[in-house]
Symmetry: D3
Subunit: 112 residues, 6 copies
Amino acid sequence: MPDKIDAFNEFRTDMNESILAKGTRETKRFFNLDGAVYREGALSKKTKELLGLTASMVLRCNDCITYHILECHERGVTPEEFSEAFDVSLIVGGSIVIPHVRHARSILNELS
Amino acid sequence: MPDKIDAFNEFRTDMNESILAKGTRETKRFFNLDGAVYREGALSKKTKELLGLTASMVLRCNDCITYHILECHERGVTPEEFSEAFDVSLIVGGSIVIPHVRHARSILNELS
Amino acid sequence: MPDKIDAFNEFRTDMNESILAKGTRETKRFFNLDGAVYREGALSKKTKELLGLTASMVLRCNDCITYHILECHERGVTPEEFSEAFDVSLIVGGSIVIPHVRHARSILNELS
Amino acid sequence: MPDKIDAFNEFRTDMNESILAKGTRETKRFFNLDGAVYREGALSKKTKELLGLTASMVLRCNDCITYHILECHERGVTPEEFSEAFDVSLIVGGSIVIPHVRHARSILNELS
Amino acid sequence: MPDKIDAFNEFRTDMNESILAKGTRETKRFFNLDGAVYREGALSKKTKELLGLTASMVLRCNDCITYHILECHERGVTPEEFSEAFDVSLIVGGSIVIPHVRHARSILNELS
Amino acid sequence: MPDKIDAFNEFRTDMNESILAKGTRETKRFFNLDGAVYREGALSKKTKELLGLTASMVLRCNDCITYHILECHERGVTPEEFSEAFDVSLIVGGSIVIPHVRHARSILNELS
């Protein structure tokens, strides 16, 4: 019953459309650039998504965590790799990150 | 169907009442001061509400965003002005602010 | 009708179990250490829970606030002491903390 | 004896050059976009710089504060307007912002 | 050779004077309120200063840490109590707090 | 003239010694755990250090950035990989991260 992921994707799609329709030329440039930095390069797309996931965890943004977990999952990040990325997030960001590890775990549970 | 705004306003009113009823003299002083700094002065109330909105977006607080959007809306902030304030928030605060631009956009959509 | 507390406790228990089952040895060490620092010592457990509550409020994490309010309540923190701890959080963290004082107040209201 | 401003400008110019020389195409796009969002539009450049200043104060970044104070000063922000923008920053961000109001004040003192 | 404390106190005194001289009525009210919330009440002044110290550590503000360590020291906080408050800050805020524990330790070393 | 790195290393070594000498058993456990999470595992030590670097950049801690750049450098992170990790940090964390990219660049310049 993957309701968190579905709810996230639906609201995200609807609102991004609305943001881009009503936004400025700069809004579009920001969204395009946000896509571009995660492309395969000197670092692999998988590594970049792991960077995005860890950044999202220490900054404590559940929506961003959901997004990057889905991207990481698609690039073949393994359960062990997820756990170790969560450990780095926990030690850097502290116990205040724990509720977001819970969220991340619930998303991973929905995926499996 | 403006349910986000209604839900926010109801919880806010109830809890602020409870906070002030059970709080100390200092709690009341803080709430009074929070009202006072947004009053018309050398900067217009409209500009101050835009400052409050941008601060709320980069600090990523949806409730505060809802509040300042309602205040900005009442002071005649136009759709174009909202979009440009969101752009400043996005560039200063980064993609971690995107979920809060989505929230802001959903509040603006409810208002229109 | 203590639904916020019940919902929090249920999700927390389920997910912590899942985190520890799937996590690494380091994950467990972090969770153990997180328990250990709040034990009675030179500072009382009650004082340490108040430190944890204030830290959670200025870092603006509702789940952490719920947890530490329950712990403080169990250690006999009085309504007056809660109010004064909220005042310190408000002045240090600013009006961006107000929505979290609302949350804290709603948890205290559920408890009484 | 404007040493803080000079030191800031020198390090900023040197390092931005180094960042752009060694960075990727995306790095350049980010810096260009960062310039573009502050241009005159539906909101005046002066208002946008005040938004940038307030965002920098609540996010507590002294270098960003220095930069936006210089930009605001060039656009004719008055002493009274600066003081009111600092008040909004203080109430939103709390006493943790005070050291940055001190920094902002020291920059304004250097300018006058 | 207590140079960090002296430098902090001198800049703080000078700038606070400048802030209050050039600020608005609301600026003064904020500073007064900031003093008032730490007064002896249901919680002791010592406990409140420990709350302020922990909040400053997890929000990672060295100037605020210096200030609250001096206040805690004056209220008789013992070395063991300081260490335990640092532990709570570390576990809540994570390794990103370590540089601020270093700063706190250097201030305590200057004091002894 | 690698003065930033030397100054960082000297203060870090001195204060860590002081922290561990005067800290509790929990302080030591935290520092040990902080070392353990970066060890080679399902993710390579190099990848974990890049996670630590990105987390430090979006959380805007110069000392942590210096530390992880030195670790990344030792694990053979290339100039191109550094630039792409900075891009992810910039887009996630926004322009408020720019002063920390400047710091990171100045550390890399000292190293070369």
